[in-house]
Symmetry: C2
Subunit: 178 residues, 2 copies
DNA sequence: CCAGTAACTTGCATAATGCAAGTTACTGGT
DNA sequence: ACCAGTAACTTGCATTATGCAAGTTACTGG
């Protein structure tokens, strides 16, 4: 079934899901970040059906997440290595790992992120690169960006994320269509 | 089709995907974080078929992401509000937003995260809460946690994320099964 | 030269999804 | 009291994706 629009949506989340929203995609990227590159490594790790894996890998290559690279000529063999875009996805993986550990690991975490120097578990929090302030603070809010359509702007105008005051940078709202 | 195991996996990512891995789930949570609570608000915002929305909302309630709460007795009407767990998912949404903006917004961002004081766009990066160091540094690595099985530990032992040295905290590897 | 294996691809039954239409239970106007 | 309008779902059916088993191609090792 046509998986609905998504690609045409303006939302960065929707566009992200276009690329990695399929069931296995995120787990494949997780494994790729863990250093796996070969078809059979992924298959072994995930217990995924080979045809599914073929499709998902092809989709990830098409989405620019992985690069398919020949590592043997006779027989032709390929490996799948993360692109810059794929490696950049690491922050999403970190966020999901932290969230998963907080909420779905009653028996204790089975995957930790460690600080290699201290050997202590790292506790990942988002900060603004410039102000260094944690994004959990109420002083952050979403706003329509320069490329926002009227509809997107109208939706975000009603947003609840942070304060919903009007801000200098939060322009683009012209009329309410939603 | 039974969407494979996932729940039985130890990986926090897999467990997270169990709850929010369905196509629409993340977009619904995004909208909930934007302040939407009613069935028809979600439907309007997403353009989702009502039966799909019914299922996804029910699944999210069951997963403990949303709470279904009656706001009218005659006629019985319900609204869906985020639980603590659902609100905590915000960091994942932030990560995806940032990643999506970086890679799939050639015409410029349409959704921004703003610092409400300066009015400037925020650039979210992960840091370790304790050391305050960005997690992009090579000094961070994944390791099996206290609850890791042999198989999980073996997989992570070969990991490539950071250095793959053995660390005091990274115990649990007894034999290699993978 | 033949068995064994890595790395896929193909086919088919089955299960999930999207859409349109139907249902239930009000509210508001006359 | 009656009828249109609307919110919030649910049902049914055609379409599409998934998982599994089996097949294919191309080596390698003895």
């Amino acid at each position: 079934m046509r998986h609905k629009n998504l690609g045409k949506m303006q939302c960065p989340i929707a566009r992200s899901l276009e690329r990695v929203g399929e069931w296995w995609s995120i787990l494949i990227i997780r494994d790729a970040l863990h250093g796996l590159t070969r078809f059979d490594q992924f298959q072994e790790s995930l217990g995924i059906a080979p045809n599914m894996l073929t499709r998902r890998l092809a989709a990830l290559v098409k989405a620019g997440m992985l690069e398919r690279r020949r590592y043997s000529d006779r027989p032709p063999r390929y490996e799948y290595v993360l692109t810059e875009r794929g490696r950049d996805f690491r922050s999403v993986i970190i966020a999901m790992t932290a969230w998963g550990n907080r909420h779905f690991a009653p028996e204790g975490a089975s995957v930790l992120l460690l600080n290699a120097r201290t050997g202590k578990p790292a506790d990942p929090v988002f900060v603004d690169r410039n102000s260094k302030r944690p994004l959990a603070d109420t002083e952050f809010l979403v706003a329509p960006g320069p490329a926002a359509s009227d509809r997107t702007a109208a939706k975000l105008a009603a947003s609840d994320w942070g304060a919903s005051r009007r801000l200098p940078a939060a322009r683009g709202i012209r009329k309410s269509t939603a």
